[in-house]
């Protein structure tokens, strides 16, 4: 019994450290196109659908728990309420397959979020946004250790393209950065848990739910930008729509026994974007062996609803039909 409890705790810790935060918005500012990133969120609001996002990682075994394969299937729907305000609803189905013992699966908590773009500068390809994410406690399955409490995460987003560099650095112009800084605050500081020991005694435990600094960024090199605005190097279609990218998805607990210890992944990959959808695939490389010693994978199909059916999907309650995501 105690072994099961430890296994569950180990999985909960691993999940909290590795769960994929599904990425959302794509957008244009000036002549810069920013794709929706896979592992970190980006600063745009848009009408779009990520379905599915698939991630795979084999978690490290511990003294209490065997190595476990983790597969996540997730999706997210995003909707603009105004040109600069958007909301999102996301969910994930988690499958855990330990090397020893039976597999478990279930839904993770729903995630509801809002984002407001408060600063745009088209000539400098710069965008800033504020967001608030709500992990709705109790909506997921206890089998995959979805938390029973809410977590609120205020966020600051940024996006910056480097098309304003001097011509002497022209090959750097297709570079862009996006990033997010978030402060995840659990609504319950301690969670009361009842555990039965091997001798039959019932123990009450109150593990701390740490506040976590969630941060991440992406470095991307847009080949369409290179070909169309800087130098035509002869890359043929459809390869000229590719964006090599490296994402960093990181978490640093602020309190608790792991306070100050950063975990997360570095994800090199490729995004290909078209008119109506984009495809992305990344390797998932843990930055340390706290969670895994293995390389995982992350893939996503992402639909631009505002381009597929603008009159349907870009309707807003106060601003009418916005139309496709327009360059600013």
């Amino acid at each position: 019994m105690r072994g099961k409890a430890l296994f569950a705790c180990a999985l909960a810790l691993a999940l909290s450290l590795t769960s994929v935060h599904v990425a959302q918005a794509h957008g244009l500012i000036g002549k810069r196109f920013f794709p929706a990133t896979l592992a970190t969120d980006d600063p745009f609001v848009a009408d779009e659908l990520s379905l599915p996002t698939i991630s795979y990682l084999k978690l490290r075994g511990t003294e209490e728990a065997p190595p476990t394969k983790q597969i996540s299937l997730s999706g997210e729907l995003s909707k603009r309420l105004s040109p600069d305000l958007g909301i999102s609803l996301g969910g994930a189905f988690i499958m855990l397959d330990p090397d020893e013992g039976s597999s478990v699966s279930g839904f993770d908590n729903l995630e509801v979020s809002a984002k407001y773009v408060f600063f745009k500068n088209a000539p400098h390809e710069l965008l800033l946004a504020l967001g608030l994410s709500w992990d709705v406690g109790g909506t997921g399955s206890k089998k995959v250790d979805a938390e029973s409490f809410d977590t609120w995460t205020p966020q600051l987003f940024f996006g910056k393209g480097f098309g304003d560099l001097p011509d002497q650095l022209e090959l750097m112009k297709p570079l862009a950065l996006t990033g997010v800084l978030g402060w995840a605050i659990p609504s319950r500081v301690h969670t009361k848990k009842f555990e039965t020991s091997d001798t039959g005694e019932v123990e009450i435990k109150k593990p701390l739910n740490p506040t976590v600094f969630k941060w991440g960024f992406s470095v991307q090199y847009n080949l369409q930008y290179l070909q169309s605005y800087v130098r035509d190097v002869g890359i043929p279609a459809p390869l000229n729509r590719m964006i090599p990218i490296v994402e960093f998805a990181l978490k640093t607990p602020i309190d608790g026994r792991n306070a100050g210890r950063t975990t997360g992944t570095v994800n090199p990959g490729i995004i290909w974007f078209g008119r109506y959808f984009q495809l992305g695939i990344e390797a998932v490389i843990p930055i340390n062996d706290d969670v895994s010693k293995n390389i995982g994978a992350l893939a996503q199909i992402h639909f631009y609803l505002d381009d597929i059916l603008p009159k349907v999907f870009t309707w807003t309650p106060f601003h009418g039909v916005l139309g496709p995501t327009q360059p600013q």
């Binding site: 000036g30 169309s228 800087v230 035509d232 279609a237 959808f277 381009d307 603008p310």
Partner: protein, 116 residues
């Protein structure tokens, strides 16, 4: 399976499916150096563009407009935006374009070229 392949081909087809107007290629080529002044600047987009809302101009290094002011969408090719040029002296030039695709989606951009 055949239907799936057809749907995939439709989604991945490069040209007419793309209502979103991004440049496909141009003459002069983006960022290239020419031995002599070109007679015109031509940009082929990956979808048809609206003639009324599409603009194209060429400026020299001092930001003086140097094209002939006759920018137009080709009547024979709805994806081609072009403007005539006089004989240009050696120097670096920049092309500015703005187009509206048939779905109303506006895109804009610029690129350099050099005359040797």
């Amino acid at each position: 399976m055949g239907r799936l392949l057809a749907a995939a081909a439709l989604l991945l087809a490069p040209s007419w499916v793309w209502a979103h107007a991004f440049p496909d290629h141009s003459e002069p080529r983006v960022g290239h150096t020419l031995e002599a002044s070109p007679p015109a600047v031509r940009i082929w987009f990956d979808g048809r563009i609206e003639p009324v809302f599409s603009t194209l101009r060429v400026e020299d290094a001092d930001k003086r407009r140097v094209d002939k002011g006759d920018a137009r969408v080709s009547s024979a090719d709805g994806t081609l935006l072009e403007v005539g040029l006089p004989s240009l002296p050696s120097g670096r030039y920049r092309v500015y374009w703005s187009v509206v695709a048939r779905d109303g989606h506006r895109t804009e951009g610029d690129f350099p070229f050099t005359v040797k």
